[in-house]
């Protein structure tokens, strides 16, 4: 059970239980405000009835002509609220708004190639790999995770404006681009 509501600037005072988890980055205030100042309807919070924050998503709309799309910048759920379908609900909302309000052709997101949990989760939501972006997360030198640690998959899901699924492809994992070539 959770309340789905808009992300508000003052939520920055409340997101510790989500952000103290190591997988979630805390950015400067300008980061959150820049999203809220332009795409507030693509940013939302899931909250427990007690008022405790459970997770949030921050998104934006970008691209030109057939590349006009919704983008998931951050999706996170506090550890104690995982596997309750919250990520799914927030993604549903973001897709619905990208589709109906922004009339985007697709929604996309970047995910570390090593994050197989998230990759399979997005696949179960209907996303597929569109391309692999080299050194998206910076160059780490070939370490434990190798290339997978520094590369990202750009994953996409077509929306109703793209009934012919032009925005996705089958062999996306083999399409390799450099980080300079993506927005």
């Amino acid at each position: 059970m959770s309340v789905l509501r808009p992300f508000k600037a003052a939520d920055m005072f409340k997101f510790n239980n989500v952000n103290l988890d190591i997988w979630t980055e805390t950015y400067g205030i300008g980061f959150y405000l820049s999203y809220l100042a332009r795409w507030p309807d693509l940013c939302c919070v899931q909250e427990a009835p007690s008022g405790r924050m459970m997770g949030y998503v921050l998104g934006k709309a970008e691209g030109t002509s057939h590349e006009w799309h919704g983008h998931v910048t951050a999706l996170t759920v506090a550890p104690e609220y995982r596997r309750l379908g919250l990520a799914r609900k927030m993604m549903n909302l973001l897709e619905m708004v990208s589709d109906e309000s922004y009339k985007g052709f697709f929604v996309d997101l970047y995910v570390r190639c090593t994050n197989s949990l998230a990759i399979s989760m997005y696949e179960s939501f209907g996303y597929s790999v569109y391309r692999r972006v080299r050194e998206y997360y910076g160059s780490l030198g070939i370490g434990k995770g190798g290339r997978d640690e520094e590369d990202a998959f750009d994953m996409r899901k077509p929306l109703s404006r793209d009934p012919n699924r032009r925005s996705v492809r089958l062999n996306g994992r083999e399409m390799i681009v450099s980080a300079h070539d993506v927005p």
């Binding site: 789905l4 920055m12 205030i29 809220l36």
Partner: protein, 933 residues
């Protein structure tokens, strides 16, 4: 501008962009030789000067440029950055207004002028400009800028209540005058609804909402839907909202809890009284949801519990067995998820048979932790059972038994997570936290620090197994502070990697009453630098948030503008910010030499924050609380000195103490300050309590504020007040008149910077350059008892606490004694100058300082010696052995390595030893720094 010039100016911009201010200044100077009148070069030079802290020179240049009333866009932009850097928003507004007046057809200038007013929160002027711009440029968005400015003015605390309605009506008229309908843009629609709601024009709002497009907007925009929900409720449409919720739940499988609440409210709080049928209807709906969703979504199941709870409240529950059976059902399905305990908490208030049956059900589940899912169930069962304990069930014996159970379960379940990568949390962590809660409870029951030590050992162990468990970390920070081992608290706090805005909400974990632990006097600046680091975020807020408020205007996100403004205000006027400020000052005075510069700077800063309306943003809920329902929370139990966290009262009292002492020690009176000030003054508070003369308000120490202080802090405050009351007349008499102070300041500035202070005309002095006033020096009074006796009293306190187990009391008494002495130094600095004493005939006064100072120094040395002795004891093998024995007594047969226990004992006792030693050394340093009169 000629192309050649343009080419020459570009490198200046590049230098500014890359922060090479020096080379920017050099380049400007070079170009200025050729183009001595060029405004752009001058304004860029001013900017480079501001950025290299050459304030005086920059001011001269800015003033010159402003006087010429520039209209050139690049010049205005450069000056805008200058003025922002100097904190002069008022000048910025004037600059743009002047430029816009000269070029009323320049839309960009209009926009900039509007924004300058937005940044300064001048909503009234902003409205005027928006009106003008709409007339001139005929753009709809200026109507909305106008309307939201009216709304913001209405919400400004300084606006009298009578004005609010007028302003909302004005906003309403503006919106109605707009030629294009507001629903074209969701955020315009939002603003429209917002204004209608404020004016209680619910029918009009409903008409907008009821349209097809209104419905579409609310379906895709959560903010608009939020306001719609509220308007429907206010309009009494509870039944309609329920029907809407029901449709969404069924047709769109919406599982937003708000929709379920809508159905529940319609059932129980609608116009019709709830009946068996209406309840049955809700039960039916939620049951089918629960069946469809299975374990995938718990909303339906919880809604069933909520129905039963409300039915019981309205005496309509028919089946007494229903609540327990729903709970069992819920636990059966969701017990394997971490959220189960929190979900069920609101439904656990029941008694008698029901309670014992439920408890025995949980007992049955609680013992098995053989799989991850069963482990989670067992954790949930134990959390619920603990929560439901009654006072009679919480004794030393019962808590010890529970402790043993939790630890056993924790250790036996650990292997379940053995294969997880180190980045994952361990599934058994919560048992360690339950044990931590229990150990704190045992400490509270017995006052025996052994339990805190055991908590440290156990949590350290758990953190070793689960490196990223921030809950274990947070509790460890608290435990180490209670144990008087601050260096360990620092280590664990740093490990949290607190960033950005989290400093505001979390730094209290480390910095609350941190001067208690500070070794700044002995040169260790760990805590001071933590204070500074945590305060960076407030600077970012000042520098950045305004930009985003402006950006929200540009992108017409009216729903966000009030939120951003509120956010900015909450951070700007954060309680934690100024608590840290005070702690930092308390540390700074012990470390730095007290000079008039330090006194003046701190004084101005504190005076500016004294009248703030503070917001408490501290996050205390973050600490997971597993104490019984009647008990104090874990947060409250683990704060220092068994008091609530320092609040508004504490801050107020300490600001009074310091502002008074600094004000007396300073030559800056209000007129001087006015002249020397560079940036704008803070806006005056509308609160009538904050209106009277500052000097008077500093003296009124309120009883209710004192309740937030420890008795030893009260002792310090009483002493500080008596000291200030006593010395005030002499300070006032000796303080040179403003003209003299200004002349001296001008001289110093000119010496330092080569530039005269601007805007200051020094009136001719009346003959004597030392500023001696004509009236007689006030009669010399004997020092008050509170002052004379303070150091003896604090010494007696120290003798009482020095052998007690709690280090915090010892450290507090020692650091407060030191603080009292530093206040004495600040208060008497002025009278150190022999010529001052001679001219004003204050020999008798300074003679009376001598015995006070001598006693103070003697007491500080005595305390220092006591700390050294105690610190040696802390470092002894006996204490360490006792630490280790304390663990084996309580948790003997537990499978935690002896060597591990020894390690924790070692580092804890070492940290305790170090802080005692360090504070002791610091006291000696202070004594030697100020040993001569």
């Amino acid at each position: 501008m000629s192309q050649a010039l343009e080419r020459q100016i570009k490198p200046i911009y590049d230098s500014l962009d890359t922060g090479s201010n020096k080379s920017a200044i050099v380049a400007c100077n070079k170009l200025l030789k050729k183009y001595p009148k060029n405004e752009l070069i001058k304004s860029l030079k001013a900017l480079a000067l501001v950025r290299s802290q050459k304030v005086e020179e920059a001011l001269v240049l800015c003033d010159e440029l402003l006087q010429a009333k520039p209209t050139d866009d690049p010049v205005l932009t450069a000056l805008m950055h200058c003025l922002r850097g100097l904190g002069r928003h008022k000048d910025m507004v004037t600059m743009f207004e002047d430029a816009y007046k000269q070029q009323p057809a320049n839309e960009e200038l209009g926009i900039q002028t509007f924004f300058a007013n937005v940044r300064a929160a001048n909503w009234k002027s902003a409205q005027l400009i928006a009106t003008k711009m709409h007339k001139q440029f005929q753009e709809d968005r200026y109507i909305f800028w106008n309307a939201i400015s009216a709304v913001l003015q209405a919400r400004d605390p300084a606006t009298p209540p009578g004005m609010q309605t007028i302003l909302f009506k004005l906003a309403h008229r503006l919106l109605e005058s707009c030629t294009s309908p507001t629903y074209l843009i969701a955020d315009r629609f939002y603003l429209h609804l917002f204004v209608l709601r404020e004016l209680q024009l619910y029918d009009d709002a409903h008409k907008l909402l009821d349209s097809e497009i209104g419905t579409v907007i609310c379906n895709t925009n959560l903010s608009c839907n939020e306001i719609r929900r509220d308007i429907w409720k206010r309009r009494g449409m509870v039944a309609e909202e329920g029907a809407r919720g029901e449709r969404r739940i069924i047709e769109q499988k919406d599982r937003n809890w708000l929709e379920f609440l809508a159905v529940l409210d319609a059932t129980f709080e609608g116009p019709e009284k709830p009946t068996a049928e209406s309840i049955e209807h809700a039960v039916h709906l939620f049951t089918s949801v629960a069946e469809i969703d299975g374990t995938k979504d718990r909303t339906g199941l919880l809604a069933l519990l909520e129905v039963e709870k409300r039915a019981r409240q309205s005496n309509l529950s028919t089946d007494p067995g229903r609540l327990p059976s729903l709970l069992r059902d819920y636990f059966g399905r969701i017990g394997g998820k971490a959220c189960c305990f929190e979900d069920l908490k609101p439904y656990l208030a029941f008694e008698g048979n029901e309670k014992s049956e439920w408890a025995s059900f949980l007992q049955g589940v609680a013992t098995t932790a053989d799989t991850i899912s069963n482990l989670q169930r067992s954790i949930n069962a134990h959390k619920i059972l603990r929560f439901m304990l009654d006072p009679s069930q919480v004794t030393v014996e019962s808590e010890s038994t529970l402790l043993s159970t939790y630890v056993d379960l924790y250790l036996s379940a650990l292997p379940l997570g053995a294969d997880l990568p180190s980045t994952e949390l361990q599934p058994a962590d919560d048992f360690a936290l339950l044990a931590g809660n229990t150990l704190v409870s045992l400490w509270k029951l017995t006052s025996d620090a052994k339990h805190l030590q055991n908590a440290a050992i156990l949590l350290e162990f758990a953190l070793g197994k689960s490196k990223h468990s921030f809950q274990s970390r947070l509790l460890l920070i608290r435990v180490y502070r209670l144990l008087g081992a601050p260096s360990l608290a620092v280590d664990y706090y740093r490990g949290l990697q607190v960033k950005q805005v989290q400093h505001d909400t979390l730094s209290h974990f480390l910095l609350s009453r941190a001067s208690n632990f500070s070794l700044a006097a002995s040169g260790d600046l760990t805590f001071s630098s933590e204070c500074l680091e945590s305060s960076q975020i407030y600077l970012s807020n000042t520098q950045e948030t305004g930009d985003f408020i402006v950006r929200a205007f540009t992108s017409e996100k009216y729903s966000q503008i009030p939120e951003f403004i509120e956010f900015e205000d909450r951070l700007e006027n954060s309680l934690q910010r100024d608590l840290v400020k005070i702690e930092h000052l308390r540390m700074r005075t012990t470390h730095e030499v007290i000079t008039s510069d330090l006194i003046d700077m701190e004084l101005i800063e504190l005076k500016f924050i004294f009248d703030r309306t503070h917001h408490d943003n501290r996050d205390f809920d973050i600490l997971a609380n597993y104490q019984p329902h009647f008990s104090k929370s874990l947060n409250e139990q683990t704060l220092l000195f068994n008091l609530p966290a320092e609040g508004h009262g504490w801050l107020h009292v300490f600001m009074q103490v310091y502002i008074r002492a600094l004000q007396q020690g300073s030559d800056l009176d209000d007129t001087v300050e006015e002249k020397l000030l560079i940036g704008d003054r803070p806006k005056q508070s509308p609160d009538p309590e904050k209106r009277g003369p500052l000097k008077e308000r500093l003296k009124q120490v309120k009883e209710e504020c004192l309740t937030e202080l420890t008795p030893d802090e009260v002792l310090l405050v009483t002493y500080a007040k008596a000291l200030a009351d006593w010395l005030e007349p002499y300070h006032d008499h000796v303080r040179p008149p403003p003209a003299v102070v200004l002349a001296e300041a001008a001289k110093q500035t000119e010496l330092k910077t080569g530039f005269a202070l601007r805007g200051i005309e020094i009136p001719p002095l009346n003959g004597n350059g030392n500023g001696k006033k004509d009236e007689e020096a006030p009669a010399i009074a004997d020092p008050p008892q509170e002052v004379v006796e303070f150091f003896a009293k604090i010494k007696a306190r120290f003798e009482v606490v020095v052998d007690q187990p709690s280090l915090n009391d010892i450290l507090q008494v020692a650091t407060l004694a030191q603080e009292a002495f530093m206040l004495f130094v600040i208060e008497t600095l002025r009278f150190k100058s022999p010529s001052v004493v001679k001219i004003h005939k204050l020999g008798a006064l300074t003679n009376s300082f001598k015995p006070i100072r001598a006693t103070a120094l003697e007491v500080l040395k005595f305390i220092s010696a006591g700390l050294t002795t105690r610190s040696e004891k802390e470092g002894s093998t006996e204490v360490r052995t006792a630490f280790i024995d304390g663990f084996s007594e309580s948790l003997s047969n537990k499978d935690i390595d002896q060597e591990f226990v020894q390690g924790i004992a070692k580092k804890t006792t070492e940290s305790r030893k170090k802080v005692l030693e360090g504070v002791g050394k610091g006291l000696l340093r202070v004594c030697s720094n100020y040993s001569t009169n």
